[in-house]
Symmetry: D2
Subunit: 390 residues, 4 copies
């Protein structure tokens, strides 16, 4: 099986290269009756858009077009195709890498797999972060559908390089990080992150970071034993993102150093409902969502395309050489990666919510469509710049 599709009931298929005419996604499995406009898509695309401060210099308007599946502003049950034109492409910047695969980049593995002669070196082709536009566009539709179960997904950058957030953060702060140019959830953190980024830019270097995604109010019982556990599908979704090198949920790797009596979480009764006291399992137990907030983290390695000269090999001569990558690249892919991680989480949750029966697969009632629309408006409003932020 080829690998351009994701999901079972809510299934996306992406296409398009960084330097081709467009990138796009076909979303199959959206029930009929959902109100959907290009503004809904654009809202989410805004936050992964290049051209924001501190991310790649490439300036794309990233205006989505919905070319199928909509009639009178609502979905029809037919597949929804969304395309985004590639408008600001400068392929000449890539001439040097034609023969000098970039360390830490997909260049050489792609050549090994598909053959040098078939390698679209301009902008990284499918391995480019540009591909993630399709994911975020589809993620917007998934997030909107999840309004039916009143489930909201937020993400923020928990650490950038050596700087880490170690205090509590509210879900509101997380949502507001969307407007932070460095996806920080606190003003002081934003400043520290910005400083780090500026310094990296000056040095022609980059930083890794760790994103945290929080899902408020997920339905319980999502996940299918024994292989399609919710944690398993989330891990796949997250690891499918370029530059992600690790995934954990709840206590994560810390659990590997703990005793059972510490890691286990007491079951309690709260408001007449069975709940868990400390949510140490990050909302997933036995591979199933348990109704508590889902909390997961992922590590993004530093951008591999850096200006600082690095050793590589010239493919024509097999001699050692150096490369200084002068394309327009983010100093930390983790920043925009937060949006992509949110989108992937949304895709997994909506898929499982449909598998489980929480979200209808064929059509929404008029009432459901309206509830979704209303909650979506509220969500868009909740995502606002934090005080004092840009």
């Amino acid at each position: 099986m080829p690998g351009s599709s994701f999901g079972e009931m809510f299934r996306i298929t992406t296409f398009g290269e960084s330097h081709g005419p467009e990138v796009g996604v076909v979303i199959d499995g959206v029930p009929a009756g959902l109100y959907l406009s290009k503004d809904d898509i654009q809202f989410e695309l805004l936050f992964r858009r290049p051209g924001r401060q501190y991310v790649t210099g490439r300036r794309e308007k990233d205006e989505p077009e919905i070319v199928s599946g909509i009639y009178n502003g609502r979905t029809t049950g037919a597949p929804i195709a969304i395309i985004v034109k590639n408008s600001d492409v400068i392929s000449s910047l890539y001439e040097e890498i034609r023969y000098k695969p970039r360390p830490g980049h997909a260049d050489l593995p792609y050549i090994m797999k598909y053959g040098y002669e078939n390698w679209d070196y301009r902008g990284g082709g499918r391995a480019s972060a540009r591909e993630t536009v399709s994911r975020v566009a589809a993620g917007a539709v998934a997030k909107k559908l999840l309004m039916l179960t009143d489930t909201v997904i937020g993400g923020h950058l928990k650490s950038l390089g050596p700087i880490e957030l170690n205090e509590d953060v509210t879900f509101e702060e997380i949502l507001c990080s969307k407007y932070s140019p460095v996806r920080a959830s606190k003003k002081w953190l934003e400043e520290k992150f910005e400083e780090l980024i500026k310094q990296a830019t000056v040095e022609g270097d980059s930083w890794g970071g760790i994103a945290e995604i929080v899902v408020k109010n997920p339905p319980s019982g999502l996940g299918e034993p024994v292989f399609d556990k919710l944690k398993a599908d989330l891990a796949k979704a997250i690891l499918s993102i370029p530059a992600v090198t690790g995934f954990e949920y709840g206590l994560g790797f810390k659990a590997g150093r703990m005793r059972g009596s510490e890691a286990n979480d007491e079951i309690i009764v709260k408001d007449g409902r069975l709940r868990w006291k400390n949510n140490t399992s990050g909302g997933i137990l036995g591979g199933l969502s348990n109704g508590e907030d889902i909390i997961l983290r992922c590590a993004f390695k530093p951008t591999s395309s850096i200006r600082k000269p690095q050793k590589t090999v010239d493919l024509r001569t097999y001699e050692e050489t150096t490369i200084s990558v002068i394309g327009r690249h983010d100093p930390a892919v983790a920043i925009r990666g937060v949006s992509v991680a949110e989108a992937m989480v949304a895709l997994v949750l909506v898929d499982h919510a449909m598998r489980t029966g929480y979200i209808p697969t064929v059509k929404l009632t008029e009432e459901q469509a309206k509830i979704i629309e209303e909650r979506w408006r509220r969500y868009v409003e909740l995502c606002k710049p934090m005080q004092g932020s840009q």
Copy 2:
């Protein structure tokens, strides 16, 4: 879609509960012509078997029966069904949990999903570690097929609770850890792990641990952009294992704290072949295997079933109560988890090797079958107790 199947070209479907008559697996997609005996399966089952020292007191012989797909000692191309009888089942031990869901365990989420009246509480049903017998049995077949590309998979326990291995380890040591009762790769480490385990047993507690899996000599180019990246499918495979709470490969979470100039790995020429100098990316770059050893780690939380009393709720009264789990449980699931993680990695690799064309999907030539058999014998011999081990 239900979740009892895994893989695309090499596809397994598992069934059976902890306290039912048997657990089993159907393996579909094994090419014809492979020599396969129940001894091959048994060899791998041996190392996840309960009843070894320091793992659960349950004593199963775990003798596999191959009930289809074999003719004259070789596979026919038909699905291979393997069953293992459940011989040492004491359901009475589970009477207490019937109304007291165990903290940290799948009990309550299963009840939430499937209904209390349909909950097979005896031994955890499908959520029991017993289910992993099927995975290890199928993994044995996968490992054997991978001999065709001369790819070998080894695993060991890198840390247990606070004790961590911080020195280099050879692949031979890793293979020998199979015979260590605590999956340690060094004698001194084995002793420290054992001490920890004994203490936990005394205290009625358990420990988490971190397993490391190393794949020697994988083919390059495994993984399908953009969603079925090798790292993504490995992450799903690993997170589908009970008790796993995190996954990382290569630098993993450390990469999230590094600069690009540190994390990137120089491309070099070695023996006329393009290689990577430090393998910081753990054998996977751009989501594809790059021909270097694949290195990944996963965290196992501590066994949630412990003797130490824990707070929970009585489902009949919704009142607070405590539970002291007296079933026979491992003091650290991570120990047996190593075998399961190896198996899951094997399943992913053989699947991708078939998708990519390295391993034939329909039948092996006589020569291929013999090469596999020969290498398998060598592998079985390589796995031997380390000097001084039990």
Copy 3:
């Protein structure tokens, strides 16, 4: 992808050879809470059982065992594995075909695909009609679940060789044909079919036949445009049955010779509901079920294993030879084929009913479980021998 699984939400995986220890099926995706006993399975197996008059001489009790997925007589949501032992196997009857592939049989194509050395010639291996036991067992579970939408599936033999039923048949007659040894829906037809069969047996020959399947009261809207149309998935299901060479629904091939003004079916209002007047489209329009009875037919070729000598080639010498097949074979596979076709239709319908949301994917309410049980009892009673039949 290998081919031993069928279905998306209600997914079956079959295993086992004609002359192995057992045949079996794993059913994944059955919601929790369904009452299910081996008697339910046995009821349907009864009608495809060898050893009935006029079908193969092989005498199997065909007693199903449910080895997983059931607790206290109800499904738990876990995969259900059902096995049936092979008890009456005489492999010696197959010695001759070892080197003489039977004309019209899968022998030679299997050898071409999997290699002569891997060919399990005894009883046809997986190509044997014995494999369909698994389908009928799974079909019983599917039929039972379909009781939730009050949907009942019946089948009968519409023609055998040159003898065809050309008069109207009631659904009750169709259900009663289950007890007819030749699956006839009328007494006079039964007699004619029996005569034909006796004559074929005497002559060492066999007959083809055409089965008709009728689905009473299917939900509307089943089928997923544009590739998983209901008619498409039914066609695949039916053509996956050994010996089936054609499929049609509604007017079928006749529509290919008609005018639009003849073939189109008037839309009318009946009892306040939109209906179709003549159901020329056999319950499926635009690829979707439209709420009318689903009517489809399929052709079974004559049993290829016949006593009459046929020309073939000796694989050892590549010389012409003849073969007279002396195994125990049906004089018309179409007879038992009716049960298999019913089962395949049930599998498709339940799968689509789950995809569409008519049948829950996770668990049944107590009320739903009871409705199903009650309707199942009624269905079992409705299936009774027709007056004067054996």
Copy 4:
């Protein structure tokens, strides 16, 4: 699972409505290195194009654009997206059907499934034959890849209404039928078909027809027991085409009326190879291709949209009314259906050839790419107007 995707290894996903801006297809799984131009696609689109004589009056240029997956005229291994703009859309013709569902058409079933308010009535939306543009475009790529095994697919109209071809037809004649405006393989047949069509047009009526598809030189061993038999996947592919009501291969329904001794096909040795004497099984035995030509037929019902007034119901009043469909519709969908059936057969064969290992999944060698290109040129030349045809 939604239904807009088809295939496992060579996987297509289609999108777009009849009266939307474009229709398109994403093809995932095309190996790198294939020479592919829009002319290759256009060649096949030419023969299903509306605006040819006797087919719908709608005049589309149907110029395909390849928007991803190609670099320097060759495939890269990335998904290939092909779009075709909808240029000649007159939605006003559809105002009448807005409240009057057409008999024999998908209108009412779509309303039942997705809700009246979400029904894109203009031009039939996804249920329009326009959707098959995507299939034929993808089929062109599949056909090209099949050149690697020297496999060529041809189709013709075997009967139209009461007129049937009952004499032998050569594969060359079949290929030349592409240029016949009525897909006839003989000059005399063309004339008879044309007469029938003209008369139907005058009368505001339409005709059904039966298409035959022949696959020359398929590899043996295609098909995966037991559910993904080649015949099963072909049946699904063919029945997924709008208006198809039946499928048969080899003797087809005739086999249902025959004796085993007639229907069975002798195995012979020819040119040192094991062959079948009469190919009564149409190239598929035991569900696997056996190396003989694959021969299948399918019935297309008559176009349901006809000018002749038909009874239906007004959805606003639930009163009886009549409709005379005045859109531009084919007098026999079977004519253009031949191209679509060829495409679907190509999709199935290339998918199975990749599953079986005949066609590489990742990349073609330079030599393979050249062989394909050469054979494709030859094929294009072989398809030429028959003498005396238009």
